[in-house]
């Protein structure tokens, strides 16, 4: 994992001191709320419905055990004993007091963490494939380039006040597990015809009120040109992105308005005029960063573990958990484990301080002290020996973390919604809970197979509902919460925006509506065909028809 050098350390400590002074000035009355608000947002401090909220950056979703333990401590000492992992691989605390936040930031700085650029119109936390460095289908580990972009974009003087927020996601694999097409910039590490490694760049993806799938800006960009090219791209956006209307200010709108070809021409023209020597990353610095992500000291193990195989045969619940939650590792004898934060009836993405400590301890015991946060709001132990999996699963069970539902219908992505968020138009967590309870039976979940349900409590789409196989958007209709259902969205390599399949329905009708959609799939699927493949083959009509029955049934 990357470790701060003395410059990183000094920079973060300086920011804590600056924010402490800003809070003192706010509390003494020498800063007004209007003056203070942009300063607090620059440090990840929001004001939500019930309290302040602090968003902590987890760079490309990578956490060390000591960092997770510190988050547990902060949750216990300054919050209500839990935190919420988000779709941008960050962690949010929902109840901090403003006067305590400088002390919280100090505790974060002690473990090389901060809240800088987790809000505001700047380049936000760079997200990445949670299986970075361990996936068998990876061309290259995306973490070094994610770290390079993090360093380049942190307090970048030119790109600190963009027309709107800017999100970058990176994957090193062909299978997209980072939803790169739903980001302002999606970066995919690729190999060209002559075997050289470089980047494929997507631009202009994003969800919110104008959902768009990213367009290909460059099929292949040489690795060493990345920062110059990003500078050119950001310059075009910074100069030409709209500032008159925040709803039209994201780069996706610029790309849409002038067209991808014109946007590309402008970026390429800017790129051609830049002094590469001044903008390209220093190879020595790149090598320094990359060295932090060298593989850990794996043991030489056989590809399979007899103990692991027999444990699966002896224990079907364990075997089912393995099937859903264990991911193939590139290193023989190892596996990557996803720890579901989607216990049936729990708030998706929430973890208690005790659970954070349990995961940190398990990471130390079984995964070289490393944890990943996924954009699906789960955690990953990336480097577990297959022979340790059974013991790990039992310990996860003791911590209430052994739900074997990763990728299944109860592994629901869900924003905080109106239970916390002041922007929300409806609740989302209770919807996730009611669907999870409806489909709780493990054998039924396995029978249905992979389905992604994603829920947002407002049009801003933090719950990624547009790219859910089944998307659920909470709105207000005639003074009541109302839920709009979309179908056919996809966050993977085949990225697609879902389509609305009928009128909004009340909260208590949502599980029945999902049930009807699933019933169409189960009745119509072909052998081996998963939910989204069936939706693509069948089209929306049969699902619309089934949904219409529910909508009629639920109509007041």
């Amino acid at each position: 994992m990357y470790r701060y050098d003395e410059f990183d350390e000094a920079f973060v400590r300086d920011r804590v001191a600056a924010f402490r002074a800003q809070v003192e000035r706010r509390l003494s009355g020498s800063l007004t709320e209007d003056e203070f608000k942009p300063l607090r947002l620059k440090n990840g401090v929001y004001l939500q419905l019930h309290a302040y909220m602090l968003r902590i950056a987890v760079p490309y979703g990578t956490l060390a055990s000591r960092q997770l333990r510190q988050l547990a401590l902060i949750g216990e000492r300054y919050d209500r004993g839990y935190g919420h992992f988000t779709t941008r691989q960050n962690l949010q605390f929902n109840w901090p007091k403003l006067r305590d936040i400088p002390d919280i930031l100090e505790l974060l700085a002690d473990v090389e963490m901060h809240c800088i650029q987790t809000s505001g119109n700047c380049i936000r936390n760079v997200t990445a494939d949670p299986f970075a460095g361990v996936a068998a289908d990876e061309i290259e580990d995306p973490r070094p380039v994610a770290e390079l972009i993090r360093q380049w974009s942190s307090a970048h003087p030119e790109f600190d006040y963009l027309p709107r927020k800017f999100k970058i996601a990176v994957t090193g694999a062909n299978h997209d597990r980072a939803a790169i097409a739903a980001h302002d910039i999606g970066l995919q590490i690729v190999r060209n015809d002559i075997g050289a490694v470089g980047y494929r760049l997507l631009v202009g993806g994003g969800l919110g009120r104008t959902p768009m799938i990213g367009r290909e800006l460059r099929a292949f960009l040489p690795k060493n040109a990345l920062l110059t090219y990003l500078t050119a791209l950001m310059r075009v956006y910074n100069l030409e992105g709209r500032r008159d209307n925040k709803y039209k200010a994201r780069v996706k709108i610029l790309v849409h308005e002038i067209g991808i070809a014109e946007f590309r021409d402008r970026v390429e023209a800017e790129f051609a005029g830049l002094d590469r020597a001044a903008h390209d990353a220093d190879p020595a610095e790149l090598a320094r960063i990359a060295a932090y992500f060298a593989p850990p000291a794996y043991e030489k193990l056989p590809a399979t573990s007899p103990a692991f195989e027999s444990a699966q045969r002896a224990n079907p619940i364990f075997a089912a958990w393995v099937e859903a939650n264990v991911f193939a590792h590139r290193q023989p004898g190892y596996a990557a484990v996803t720890i579901s934060l989607k216990g049936i009836g729990d708030a998706p993405g929430d973890a208690t301080s005790a659970q954070m400590r349990a995961v940190a301890d398990l990471a130390d015991a079984h995964s070289f002290g490393e944890i990943r946060v996924t954009h699906a709001q789960n955690l990953v132990l990336p480097n577990v020996k297959q022979a340790d999996l059974f013991a790990l699963w039992r310990k996860l069970g003791e911590a209430g973390l052994a739900e074997g539902n990763v990728g299944l219908i109860t592994d629901i992505i869900c924003c905080p919604g109106l239970d916390y968020c002041s922007l929300a138009t409806a609740r989302s967590i209770p919807i996730a809970q009611s669907i999870a309870r409806r489909f709780a039976a493990p054998e039924r979940q396995r029978e249905i197979g992979p389905v992604s349900i994603k829920i947002s409590g407002c049009i801003n789409a933090c719950g990624h509902h547009h790219v859910g196989h089944i998307g659920i958007l909470g709105l207000e209709k005639r003074g009541e919460e109302s839920y709009q259902i979309t179908l056919g969205g996809d966050a993977s390599k085949n990225a697609a925006i879902g389509e609305i399949i009928g009128p909004g329905i009340p909260a208590d009708a949502v599980p029945d509506a999902v049930e009807r959609l699933v019933a169409v799939y189960l009745a119509e699927r072909q052998a081996g065909e998963d939910f989204i493949a069936a939706v693509r083959r069948l089209g929306l009509a049969p699902f619309r028809a089934a949904f219409a029955q529910e909508a009629r049934h639920a109509a007041p």
Binding site: E33, H50, A51, K97, D419, I429, P430, E476
Partner: protein, 108 residues
């Protein structure tokens, strides 16, 4: 000239406390975390007094996001906001009855 907006009635004044972010209610002279202590404006004149107090308290750096909220008075005297958004703001997270005012003050 546009007509001044008439506040919906009856109404209470709520805000977030500057220091801790907690939802607070204006009583007859100060701010309380307990919604039962909220002063209820039953006529336009007293609602405007409340609204002005919200602005003054904001200027005094006591609270942020102060706003008038129209309510219905429940039989037990609790002012219950008419819109579901403010009902959740007053209660706390609906899936966590152990948190927020539903836990601290028995708001239902």
């Amino acid at each position: 000239m546009s007509t001044p907006r008439k506040p919906p009635l009856p109404a209470i004044l709520l805000a977030n406390h500057l220091l801790d972010g907690d939802v607070v209610f204006f009583t007859s002279k100060s701010w309380s975390p307990d919604p039962r202590r909220a002063q209820v404006a039953h006529d336009e004149a007293s609602a405007l007094v409340l609204e002005r107090e919200g602005g003054a308290a904001f200027a005094r750096q006591e609270v942020v996001d102060a706003c008038l909220v129209d309510v219905t008075i429940a039989p037990d005297g609790m002012p219950v906001p008419n819109h579901f958004r403010e009902r959740f703001k007053i209660k706390g997270p609906s899936h966590r009855p152990d948190l927020g005012k539903q836990a601290d003050f028995g708001v239902r």
